[in-house]
Amino acid sequence: MSYLLTCPVCGKRNGYEFRFGGEERGPRPDEKDLTPQSWLEWAHLRENVGGPQKEWWCHQQGCGLWFTTWRNTLTNHETPPEEGKS
């Protein structure tokens, strides 16, 4: 079964129209005081949540919008934010 995702502009669309943009993980750390550890954490390490997670998507083959949404990684279904609130 194909994965459906809701674009805030275009509505429910086929998941393959979108490009995944990663977990939402806050802003890029300040260059000042950057350590190898803090860079590692930001650049490479991922939460890899099994369950609802807030993440970035781009409607690449549609309107081009970047947006955040909630998805359950165990089911591949969109989750309403109130359910997914962590």
Partner: protein, 404 residues
Amino acid sequence: MFAMKRLWNRPTQKSAYDTVIIGGGLHGLAAAYYLARDHGLTDVAVIDRRYIGFGGAGRNTAIVRANQRTQENVHLYNEGLKLWPELTRELDFNLMFYNCGNLNLVHSEAGLGAFRMNVATAQFCGVKSELLDAKGCKEVVPQLDISDRLKFPIYGGMYHPPGGTIRHDALVWGLAKGAAKKGVHILQQTEVMDIGVDKGRVTSVRTDKGVINARRVLIAAGGYSTLLCRMVGILLPIHVLTIQAMVSQPMKPFLHHVVSSGTYHAYCHQSLKGELVTGSHMDPWPNYTTRVTARYIKHQAEALTEMMPCLKGLKFMRIWSGLADMTPDMAPIMDGNTQVENLFYDAGWGYFGFKSAPIAGRYMAKWIATGQRPDILSPFGLERYREARLQGETSTPINYGPWD
């Protein structure tokens, strides 16, 4: 009449083991087998949430090879490749090693240039691997269309005779049988829910069937390793993607090599049952499902019939998917005894961890039993990402996933 004989028994879960291995995939079973065989450590449990072989161990396309890009990887995989005949004898189980060789196609001068590096590495490490031009490829696999009719005409290839395929289920059963015979407990349908740590040291695992105390724990849960490592606060540089594979109806033997093309995102080989086994596509968003999509059946049919027009009309029989835990440098992460004392993990094997399972298990067992990290594993620690010493495996396959 045949009498039913179990390959491994159903042990009663004890309240404590010296070593607990989480994940009854090939890496976990191999580690257990070698802990018992090489180190006399038999007070070991392999725990699986579902059944052994549920994960990548039973879902892979069974390809083995040792033609990676970097020396560190080639050494490890090459030792692994040499294990098949030995393991078949030792486990007294026919692993059906089919040493048919692998042909990787390229479709541009640049592609051939990249493979030139792989071939140089292989030859330096004493592994047979050579470059072929398009005509040479057709001599190896006569079904290939090397005309310029193709969207991406075949420009050449890398031919690696030592590779081939193994019956993956046989390896699961053989290792389980071998480990159980030496006294290892295989506990199926038992899920690890949490890992106990006291004063920085691992103490136990909590399962849905009770707590098991353990002096040492190895996480070898394939694509699920990220979830288990998270239980003790270890984050990994991994994206867990689903990769799909499929088989066609069976045919008479016609294809005698593994053929692959990174440009077409497709590889295939003919199983000993006659089916064309093919795969390669991943859904580029992390998830822990095993969903399949019609999209890739269509893609696979297009790619394969373009490269090998004789496959037109062939019907697919089955499609399935499994998890591929992808690291940024397409090399695994084998580490332990760092963040948490006596806790080890063997993960990040993406779509290439079948072939390496026995050898990785053997070295992880050595590390766990002796407390000393074997030299061959030292390039694979998690610290390489902090030290910006990523391995160079990305040049070979297409760089899938959200990071490109």
